[in-house]
Symmetry: C2
Subunit: 193 residues, 2 copies
């Protein structure tokens, strides 16, 4: 019973709850819509999907040679799978693992010229600006889909979270640049290497 692939299992279940899908399309969804808070690789997806079937949480309709490519495998969620998913959804979420390499580098900033940090912050700002734009793009898309009676309100909420967080990151980086360039430079000079 302790043989699951951690949370990936529930990610797959949640994706299949939307509609029957292939591992490939699940990957695409996660890349596009989820990248700002979750990521999965094929090396996780395909084995997990097989496990779901083995556990009776999904069924695979092997459409060999039907569609395109080498014969795609469409997975659908079962009732047991839906039950498993909603049980998990009820549990209080706790995993919040973030690893921001840039913050690590900033925090070790006294070991490097401030100009290097300013450079890192510049690309960080650009990256976050792009992400905010992307997220707003998704929100617009979801709004349009809603006009066609396709409801994506929950995905829209996560995109909104992206807007909030990426904007905050950008604002922080701008402020950090200001603080570093105002007083960080002479700091390093007086110390030398």
């Amino acid at each position: 019973m302790k043989e699951n692939t951690g949370i990936s299992k529930y990610v797959m279940l949640g994706m299949l709850a939307r509609m029957p899908q292939t591992g490939y399309t699940i990957k695409k969804w996660i890349e596009n819509e989820y990248s700002h808070f979750w990521q999965e690789s094929f090396g996780q997806i395909y084995p997990t999907l097989k496990k779901l079937v083995a556990e009776g949480l999904a069924v695979s309709s092997d459409n060999t040679q039907s569609g395109n490519g080498r014969g795609q495998i469409v997975y659908s969620i079962t009732d047991t799978g839906r039950k498993e998913l909603s049980d998990w959804l009820r549990k209080e979420p706790k995993i919040e693992k973030l690893r921001y390499e840039i913050l690590l580098k900033i925090s070790f900033g006294e070991n490097i010229e401030p100009e290097v940090l300013l450079g890192h912050l510049d690309s960080f700002i650009r990256r976050n600006e792009k992400l905010v734009k992307d997220m707003n793009g998704y929100i617009e898309l979801f709004k349009k889909l809603k006009e066609q009676d396709i409801d994506c309100s929950y995905s829209q909420l996560t995109a909104l979270c992206g807007v909030y967080v990426y904007s905050a990151m950008r604002d922080w980086a701008i402020e950090a640049k200001k603080i570093i360039s105002e007083k960080g430079v002479d700091d390093h000079e007086t110390k030398g290497s």
Copy 2:
């Protein structure tokens, strides 16, 4: 040459660049000051520290029975270690791995009663409020230390980032609650289980 323990190696180097330390104190620092953007476990720390010594990036002064406990091992960074650290600091940071379980659950929200989501968001808000408070506490502490000529400006910057991000998270969650309770409830009702 591909035998490093990933980024943990540089985290250790950065910690030792501040002052000679034991693995235990490094863990404490990371838990307190870094938890919002990085985490390391003893299972990573101790082996990594040994590797640093093997690679000549640090030296261990084995103060057996000197301090308290079973005999602590104090590690210090070498010149080669400092060089390695600053080389790494120069490289553009890219790792940004975040896994927010709560966003996953929100995005699968249509499979559960909205009340469950509202509950998750409530504890999320409380958690972020506490974190903002903690971060502000650190900033105050760092300011006081600066009056005593102990410079923590770079750590202060990362704490500031915490303030920005956690505030954004809290604000988003408040907004999300509003959106869900305004229209999410009847949505689920019309669908049934």
